[in-house]
């Protein structure tokens, strides 16, 4: 009896596992065999991306594409952008990459190229096509390797600028208009006080301090109005003085900007939740009328319109200390691009899709108010019926200035970056702002000083390690004495420096 029972259980388990294994392959077979009519073999290409703001664009575009090419199906699963790196990592490890996939800074083009995982796209980009893009788009280590194209841009490379959004409803309630949107710190304080007088639970400014990369970015941008030699940039080169060739996080610009934010907090002009929320919670509170201003990237425009269903807002440049001009680094590389897997079985169909991508998807991104196109002419000629998007794009276009980049000077600097990643300190400007606002960091200058010292040591150690391995690279490659901030650093400037 007991034996019969155990045999019965085992068989149930065995059948269960066989069935669950079978069902997957059945679905796949059904998909492939459904379109038996027509002379072309039905094909499905998979596209993984990490841009949630572009999801509606892709969905609309795929419908048009599939109508044009009925035998090609494009599968675009929605992936949470925070999980994208891990998902890509798993796909690389199992050598199971989708046909087309977004780039990710954690797996740079040069690594993918060395591992033999990406397909070259030279036949899509004759020189005439390349010229349609912004200067600096085709850079070694990012979009090209050994002269061939390995990545196709997705967004305009001149992004994203940090801007200040203003809520027109909140301003109206406080008796203010668009003209009162502050351009300098003093104006922000004055306007802020007026808003606080009118209502006790509405605050002038709200920030998502937990999103440290956003905080670090806008601090750098605001600081560029005070000490422009510190190139406002993301990642490991934030706070780097490209004129001197060293890190200077404790520059006057960064210190004063952080102190200003703390002062706003102390004066109750900053929403009290700012310290414990991230940027999307902050923008949600902004859309809900709890704050008059929020600082975010230009990508918030489409987020507010599509996800928060909120349109009564405007976009303005960040207020700087004395209303002086600000800028952000455009070092030529394309941070948002797509690669094609080398093992793709449907390269011809992928090419058709990428061609369609450049003709139509870039256009749709503009029309749907998501982001600017990588192709210059499209940005100039497309009429977009979305005033806030146009406003944001205009500010963004004015903010980005072509700036020096060590990779253009010496390709070995890419290896230095890989080394630096392992050696750099874990603190960054955003986290230090959090600690300073929470009262944990009492000596701001001292902490920033230590950050610069640690970063400089890490950079020097990385350079030593890479040059010890045979490559020729030194700190000189990171120093650009003939650079004037706010003036585009064009190719002849690199030649001026000589080798």
């Amino acid at each position: 009896m007991k034996k019969a029972f155990s045999i019965g259980m085992l068989s149930v388990l065995a059948i269960g596992s066989i069935l669950s294994g079978c069902s997957g392959s059945q679905d796949a077979q059904q998909k492939e065999g459904s379109d038996s009519s027509g002379d072309k073999k039905p094909v499905t290409i998979t596209f993984w991306h990490r841009w949630p703001e572009s999801q509606p664009v892709f969905e609309k575009a795929v419908k048009e594409f599939e109508a044009k090419y009925p035998n090609i199906k494009v599968d675009i699963p929605s992936i949470a952008s925070a999980q994208y790196a891990a998902q890509l990592q798993a796909a690389v490890a199992s050598n199971d990459l989708p046909d087309i996939f977004s780039n990710q800074s954690a797996v740079p083009t040069d690594q993918l190229y060395q591992l033999g995982l990406i397909h070259d796209l030279d036949d899509l980009f004759p020189q005439k096509k390349k010229d349609e893009f912004y200067e600096g788009t085709w850079t070694e280590g990012f979009t090209t390797m050994d002269g061939k194209v390995y990545a196709m841009p997705h967004f305009t490379p001149r992004r994203f600028a940090h801007v200040m959004y203003y809520n027109l409803d909140v301003l109206k309630k406080a008796g203010l208009t668009e003209k009162d949107v502050p351009k300098s710190w003093d104006e922000l304080i004055a306007v802020g006080k007026k808003i606080r007088e009118k209502s006790s639970d509405v605050y002038p400014l709200i920030l998502g301090v937990k999103t440290d990369w956003l905080m670090g970015g806008f601090i750098g941008q605001m600081a560029s109005a005070i000490t422009p030699d510190i190139l406002p940039n993301d990642g490991a080169y934030a706070g780097f003085n490209y004129k001197k060739g060293e890190y200077e996080h404790n520059s006057a610009g960064i210190v004063q900007t952080m102190k200003f934010i703390k002062q706003l907090q102390d004066d109750k002009l900053l929403h009290p939740n700012s310290l414990v929320i991230d940027y999307r919670e902050a923008s949600a509170l902004f859309a809900g009328g709890k704050a008059a201003f929020v600082i975010d990237g230009t990508f918030l425009t489409s987020e507010l319109q599509q996800n928060n269903k909120f349109s009564n807002f405007g976009v303005a440049p960040l207020p700087t200390k004395d209303g002086k001009p600000q800028y952000y680094a455009f070092q030529g590389e394309t941070k948002a691009s797509v690669h094609v897997s080398k093992n793709t079985k449907h390269y011809e169909e992928v090419k058709l899709f990428l061609q369609f991508y450049m003709d139509r998807i870039y256009q749709l991104e503009l029309e749907m108010g998501v982001e600017g196109s990588p192709i210059i002419a499209q940005n100039q000629n497309t009429k977009v019926d979305n005033p806030q998007f146009v406003q944001a794009q205009k500010i963004q276009d004015q903010t980005f200035v072509l700036s020096p980049h060590q990779y253009v000077r010496n390709l070995a600097a890419i290896k230095v970056n890989t080394e630096l990643n392992g050696k750099k300190p874990k603190e960054n400007l955003g986290k230090i702002l959090e600690g300073y606002m929470a009262g944990q960091i009492k000596d701001l200058e001292g902490t920033l000083d230590k950050l610069s010292a640690d970063y400089n040591t890490a950079l020097q150690d990385s350079i030593k390690k890479v040059s010890g391995g045979g490559a020729k690279v030194s700190l000189k490659d990171f120093t650009f004495p003939n650079w004037t901030p706010f003036e585009p650093y064009t190719k002849n400037k690199y030649d001026e420096l000589g080798k």
Binding site: V92, A106, W213, A236, N273, L275, V276, G422, G439
Partner: protein, 327 residues
């Protein structure tokens, strides 16, 4: 003849039962096999591989490369931030244990009283937090302990205890307190149920004998309940400590490492290195951190396990002593 057959029969009988035992063992191993395979593949193998990865500076992409020897381990031991996370983990574990051990015992004692009505109701209510999803709890508690029009602040201000809202999660000290409080609240029911099980396993005749002798409640507690509970207590202590050493999902959603690393625990530290999105992930370095922490937890477990064994031996010794006719 009959003697011979009886001898033969005697020999045959044990042989048949031995064969039956062997068949039973074989079925037992067969049933254990799947779980053992899962254990080896999904637990042992990753642990072993993490020891291998710790000797490389590897980003997780592509083949294993860049052997660095003991560099990662040396860097970990010198990293101020790692020891900060280590301290936070230990602090969380110690505080949670110190708060929960007596509190849950008291609650279990109360709920164990025969005359107490609504026992089942209270047991369920206190156990509910245990079955909730920790990450969701973290997100909701973030709003409850928030700064602007949040429940806790509003309540305390309405009661007159506070005049101004306190930024619970915006300060290093209070953020850790909130973390410990929420963690304790979440695990309370589990420990209470452990104690209840322990209490219900105590022999009833000892209590009756004590009642006959006229012992008061506190005398019973001190001389019977607590000593008899020692082995159970040691095991519960072990379980609580091991459970509180690992707190990832709550920290990630509630404070994400707190204001400037104030509530960063080792789990979060390892996660940030292994799955970093800014720059490249550092699997090797994270593995080294995992090894150091894993060995620490292992050591603590050994010490507590030895304590548990001691207390059980003590209980057994007392039993044999009383059986021999001693006290």
């Amino acid at each position: 003849m009959s003697a011979q057959t009886s001898v033969v029969a005697g020999q045959k009988a044990p042989a048949a039962s031995v064969r039956r035992e062997r068949i039973r063992y074989r079925w037992a191993y067969l049933f254990i096999l799947p779980q053992l395979l899962f254990f080896i593949i999904f637990t042992m193998y990753p642990i072993l591989m993490s020891y291998v990865y710790a000797f490389y500076d590897w980003s997780g992409f592509g083949p294993l490369s860049n052997f660095v020897g003991f560099d990662n381990l040396i860097k970990i031991l010198h990293d101020e931030q790692f020891w900060n996370a280590f301290r936070n983990s230990l602090l969380y574990m110690a505080a949670k244990t110190v708060i929960l051990m007596p509190a849950t015992l008291m609650m279990a004692l109360i709920l164990n009283q025969a005359f107490f009505k609504g026992k089942v109701f209270y047991r369920t209510v206190y156990f509910l937090p245990v079955v909730t999803t920790t990450s969701i709890v973290g997100i909701i508690m973030k709003f409850i302990f928030g700064n602007d029009q949040a429940l806790v602040n509003e309540l305390l201000m309405a009661l007159g205890i506070l005049s101004e809202p306190v930024p619970w999660l915006g300060q290093a000290g209070t953020a850790m307190l909130v973390l410990i409080f929420v963690g304790s609240w979440k695990f309370f029911g589990m420990m209470m149920v452990y104690w209840l099980a322990g209490l219900q396993s105590l022999p009833g005749d000892v209590y009756e004998a004590a009642k006959v002798d006229g012992a008061s409640y506190w005398q019973t507690m001190r001389s019977i309940t607590l000593p008899l509970l020692m082995p159970v207590a040691a095991v519960i202590l072990l379980l609580t400590v091991v459970n509180s050493m690992h707190v990832f999902d709550l920290v990630k959603t509630l404070t994400n490492g707190g204001p400037f690393f104030a509530t960063e625990t080792v789990d979060l530290y390892i996660y940030n290195y292994a799955f970093s999105t800014s720059g490249f992930p550092q699997i090797g370095y994270a593995s080294a951190a995992g090894i150091v922490f894993g060995l620490t937890v292992f050591l603590i477990t050994l010490v507590l396990g030895w304590l548990a064994k001691l207390s059980k031996d003590g209980k057994d010794a007392r039993h044999t002593q009383s059986a021999k006719g001693g006290l």
